[in-house]
Symmetry: C2
Subunit: 248 residues, 2 copies
Amino acid sequence: MNYTVENILNHRSIRKFKAEKLTKDQIHTIVKAAQQASTSSHVMAYTIIGITDENLKAELSAVSGQPYVKDNGHLFVFCGDLNRVYQQASREEQLQMQESMESTEQFIVTTIDAALAAQNASIAAESMGLGICFIGSLRNDITQVSNLLGLPERVIPLFGLAVGYPDQQPEIKPRLPLEVIYHVNEYKNEEKQQTLITDFDDQLTSYYQNRSNNTRKDTWTKQMIRKYSHPIRMDVKPFIKDKKFNNR
Amino acid sequence: MNYTVENILNHRSIRKFKAEKLTKDQIHTIVKAAQQASTSSHVMAYTIIGITDENLKAELSAVSGQPYVKDNGHLFVFCGDLNRVYQQASREEQLQMQESMESTEQFIVTTIDAALAAQNASIAAESMGLGICFIGSLRNDITQVSNLLGLPERVIPLFGLAVGYPDQQPEIKPRLPLEVIYHVNEYKNEEKQQTLITDFDDQLTSYYQNRSNNTRKDTWTKQMIRKYSHPIRMDVKPFIKDKKFNNR
């Protein structure tokens, strides 16, 4: 197994960082790595905002409810962005582009483009001895995040990425068995999956009971059912619509 | 610069592969790498379908219009999947979970989860000397792809990933300048961006004229305006809605 694959398989999210900040060189290497990810039709439909202002970090941390959004080596916010292309066009061209830009198809393009770039950033950072954590909880108040960053129409905050020198060494969190995630030629919706997931529930119970921090008694299945029984972030849809995404 | 970052910066999409198939070991390493990506709240909201059936590959290739969807070392299709969690629940719990599962928020979670996994798969494959190409064009007929793979409600095909031994060595395609993609503390929508994009247009014109294959005269700006002037895949929205995503 080569170093890159080892590095990927060694991933665990880091939620406690040392105070040391990333250098400009480190930040630029991470951003260049992000930019080299595949992008649909060369659109590069995203913008990455680096947060250095400590007050701004504190406000974003308050939205997310997570201290590591404030206390880290560097914070990136990944935004879907079709505004860049839109601004290149004449008024007449803009009118012609609206239907396409507001389609769910282009919303998917934007979201995937940003995520591919962010995962490249993560792998690059981890290969440099840094730790990372994705911050979906910036969507706890997506309007507030958008206002804090001054995002215009056709730009939406998707998630944050906290990076820094790890100040903890958590265990690697187990993943569902390969056979549950990976199917061949057709979708498998069989009884066998249930057995494998039950085994995984047992494995996760043992992981939660034995890990060094935040031990608890839980299974994946129970967690998921609890999670989806309480709708969250129902304001995301109207927010995104107002930003001229996902309308058609 | 370490090997992993070098590997990431060296990315170019490969659209012509040698006939050699990936081994089961290679496929499993790639899938395990995919699975180790970050996932929102541990949901792992995706399924990866590997395509080995040659007839099925030919049909998917016809949807995409691309020969390399058929002729490659292996083809993966990445699907957003909340069905796995749904099937774990009782009928009563399922009813309670519907509002959350059908939210735009969870559609974003699903899409990002799948994309993070896919980018890990890509980096792992490239580190193993393989080439990759993302296949967004499977969404040319998303209903047909869904039918071919037997996807139930709450599972949607998002994109393919062709992997194999490269039978071409294309130039690395330029990316927008770092300053255009990377902003600090707030979104920059300034005149300066326009100048940088104009420079990039010149750079791309030269790239298109000098590359070894498929030379043409074009700029990024012209390409983008052409692309967005013609809406495509407007059936994606109703398809996804029918599959119980992105409704609320």
